[in-house]
Amino acid sequence: MTSTEALEDLAREASARRRPLLARGNQRRSASDLHDVIWRSIWEEPQVEPMAEDLLVTASAGVTITHLNAVLQPYGQWIPYQSPDGIDDTLGAVLGMGLDSIWRAGYGSLPDRVVALKVWTPALGTFDLGAKVVKNVAGFNLLRLFLGSRATFGIVLEATLKVSPIPRAQARWVWTQTLDQTPQTLERLLRPGKSWAYVLGQGTPENYAVWAEWHGYPAMVEQLAHSLGPMTTTDLTPNAVGPAITGAIPRSHLPQWAREAGTRMLLEWQTGWFWLPVDDGQEDAWIAKVRALGGIAVATHGDRMHMKGVDASTSALVSRLKAQLDPQGILGAWDE
């Protein structure tokens, strides 16, 4: 029995009993993680198929990012994803939950890497979306429906992603300053035509640490060292594992958001991406604050899709889609 067949058996049973079906990852993001019915079903080894010449890789949803990057490393390639809380997520969890990482500025967003998916929906079974090439506009961009929607419409079984070359040189600098000085620091760092791999900030307004990492060629690193001074070997300290929200804020609101969110937030100043540990049960309140600033945020734990505050028209669209792809409502959950 393949893992997909196992999943379909589970789904039939869930459907017959009208019980919910949860997809689980490595269960590090609370008790109800997503997307590893596949790997945990143990009928199959985690599958990774690099397409090195095309800078693509296909992997089953239960593969962890660490395992994926270990397979890609001999080809000089990687998927730039690193969770600030140190959890080694499965690929399915990252994609299904709509997470992203500190490398977003230098390497683009994770959803933009996904070129093909194999998904399973209760109404239509298993099917492929997209194509295993870097460019494709055949049909609607439907794979995006399954990224970030927490298995509400279907379960991601496999994904094909663009990979990045491992940079020939990388170097990191760190400064401690006040929060108010950070926008000027950013202006000093930015180079037209290429972003830093990250420019991250964290701390109190008076004692605010900024880490900046460049990925590129040795000659550039030399030039930066000449202008910025000595590099650091200090690593970022992972946040504690626990409830958090992640997302992005428009750049114009970053200083305000940095003050409002407090000292535990890790903020990427080029893109407005952030990771904010919050008290258990406070996710909705913080997500609402992000929306009020024109941003978007999701919880880093749990299988519930946070839809509070979404306009009625969008909510109605979601319901109509749900009715067609999961008519018995055995998958996922969202607050209407």
């Binding site: 397409m51 010449e53 095309d54 693509l56 390639q77 709509g98 967003s109 959803p111 929906t121 109404a123 079974g125 099917f127 492929d128 979306l129 194509a131 295993k132 090439v133 870097v134 460019k135 494709n136 506009v137 055949a138 049909g139 609607f140 961009n141 439907l142 995006r144 990224l147 970030g148 929607s149 070359p165 491992i166 180079r191 037209p192 035509g193 290429k194 590129g216 060629y217 000659a219 550039m220 030399e222 997302g247 992005a248 804020i249 428009p250 750049r251 114009s252 407005g272 991406w273 024109g294 941003g295 978007i296 999701v298 899709m305 946070h306 839809m307 028209s313 969008t314 889609l321 792809l325």
Partner: protein, 478 residues
């Protein structure tokens, strides 16, 4: 609501001059860049702003009249052809760049803004809009969003989808909605991304917040001439495999070179050259120099006969003008040309070009190749005479065979031109019935009456047979 009633209502909304009913004028809206089909709309309406657009769509929804949005009509897959005698909603009056938010690096534009005009408006401040379809002098941002357009410089910076932060959309029932946000993050249900590339079938975009980028510190273009097109395509694979992602990596073969050298922007290519590669890298100075050195080494190893760098920015502009007018230059070789658009894995470029050569011989037609080699996006240009019906038939079949080849190689039937009217049948080759039905689910959720751009993109699936009749469609073709 009868025909007179809804046309009267449209005139009340937009003003009498902006509803076109004259059959001669209507025929000029009957086709787009895909010249193999045409159809006459029942009317053309030109709203001036989103409120008028919303009222127009509300009126058509109430009357049950199908409609199709039109920008500049440059679609190469028939996306703007009004099947089912759809009303054409022409967005040319909505052409304002409303504002530029420099801090958030976003330009808020109406859908009728011409692509190139946006970059022209930004360049004095050191910014630009990255997606640059070859038709950028004419095509509009609304059309780019509908088709998820690409272009030569999308290899490094991504296609339209990667440059849209937020959209304002008029849903098929007339309501206005906002999708996405100015923050660079996808919503849990990412309708913004679903709307991009939906070919006007899910709603009409009335406002676009496009990401703008700083002009790179340096830009370096290299031209490489090859005696063998296979060597050129090997060089493409080698550059990517070396971990260098150029801003653009374009290839033209011998027949394409012959055409562009007859055109306005002549570069002076040797007439016996088999292929030209144009490679552009950009970024901070030291990075650009490092990548140029790597590329030069690869080009030599792969047997480039000559490597040139431009002596001035004017020369660089000439090279790009030469490349971007390649499609039009085909008119200097034949009365008509049919642009095909397919994608293959980059590593299979040499095989693909061989196969296209065999297809050209088999059908007795000439095929030029001008394409985005860096992302495996082929654009074979099939030359023909539209007075020769037999030749038209062979051209269609050859185009179809090329798409079969793309799928056999593990690719796609379209990389940037869309499915439109042209490739509905071919979509079946690429997608399973379940995948097509999932697409229909999205269509039905957004457009319950199925009025937006009817009979495009999605072939009729097993559950939708009763809803669409091909005979009816064919009867509507002129």
């Amino acid at each position: 609501m009868n025909s007179q009633e809804w046309t009267q209502e449209l005139k009340t909304i937009v003003g009498v001059p902006y509803v076109i009913e004259d059959p001669v004028l209507l025929d000029s809206y009957g086709t787009d860049g895909y010249t193999l089909e045409k159809a006459r709309p029942r009317a053309v309406v030109l709203p001036a702003d989103r409120e008028q657009l919303s009222s127009v769509i509300g009126c058509l929804y109430a009357a049950g009249i199908p409609y199709v949005a039109r920008g500049a009509g440059t679609s190469l897959s028939g996306g703007a052809i009004p099947l089912d005698r759809a009303v054409v909603v022409h967005l040319s009056r909505m052409h304002q760049i409303r504002s530029v938010d420099w801090y958030n690096r976003v330009a808020y534009c109406e859908p009728g803004v011409v692509n190139r005009r946006l970059s022209d408006a930004l360049v004095s401040k050191g910014y630009y809009y990255a997606p640059d379809p070859s038709s950028q002098q004419a095509c509009t941002l609304g059309g780019n969003v509908a088709e998820n357009s690409g272009g030569p410089h999308c290899l490094k910076y991504g296609v339209t989808l990667n440059h849209i932060r937020q959209l304002e959309v008029v849903w098929p029932y007339g309501e206005i909605g906002i999708l996405g946000s100015l923050a660079d993050y996808a919503a849990p249900v990412d309708f913004r991304s679903l709307m991009v590339g939906s070919e006007g079938m899910l709603g009409i975009v009335s406002g676009i917040w496009a990401r703008i980028m700083e002009l790179p510190e340096e830009r370096a273009t290299t031209m490489a001439l090859f005696d063998d097109v296979s060597d050129a395509s090997h060089a493409v694979s080698a550059i990517i495999a070396a971990g260098v992602i150029p801003a653009a990596l374009e290839l033209m073969d011998r027949l394409a070179i012959e055409a562009v050298e007859r055109g306005v922007y002549r570069v002076g290519y040797p007439l016996d050259v088999a292929a030209v590669l144009l490679i552009e890298v950009d970024g901070p100075g030291p990075e650009v120099q490092a990548e140029q050195e790597i590329i030069a080494d690869i080009l030599k190893t792969c047997g480039a006969r000559e490597i040139r760098v431009p002596l001035s920015s004017a020369e660089r502009e000439l090279w790009w003008a030469n490349r971007k007018t390649a499609f039009g230059a085909m008119g200097l070789l034949a009365p008509r040309y049919y642009v095909q658009d397919g994608v293959i894995p980059r590593a299979r470029l040499p095989e693909a070009l061989d196969t296209i050569g065999r297809i050209a011989k088999e059908y007795g037609i000439r095929i030029a190749n001008v394409f985005h080699a860096g992302d495996g996006n082929l654009h074979p240009l099939l030359l023909y005479d539209d007075q020769d019906e037999e030749m038209v038939r062979r051209v269609r079949q050859a185009g179809s065979d090329i798409l079969r080849m793309c799928l056999d190689f593990g690719g796609s039937i379209t990389g940037e031109h869309g499915v439109g009217l042209e490739k509905m049948e071919e979509l079946r080759w690429q997608m399973s019935d379940a995948a097509i039905e999932a697409q229909w689910a999205l269509k039905r959720a957004c457009d319950p009456k199925q009025l937006a751009n009817p009979k495009k993109v999605l072939p009729v699936g097993s559950t939708c047979v009763a809803e669409v009749s091909w005979n009816e469609t064919e009867n509507n073709l002129l």
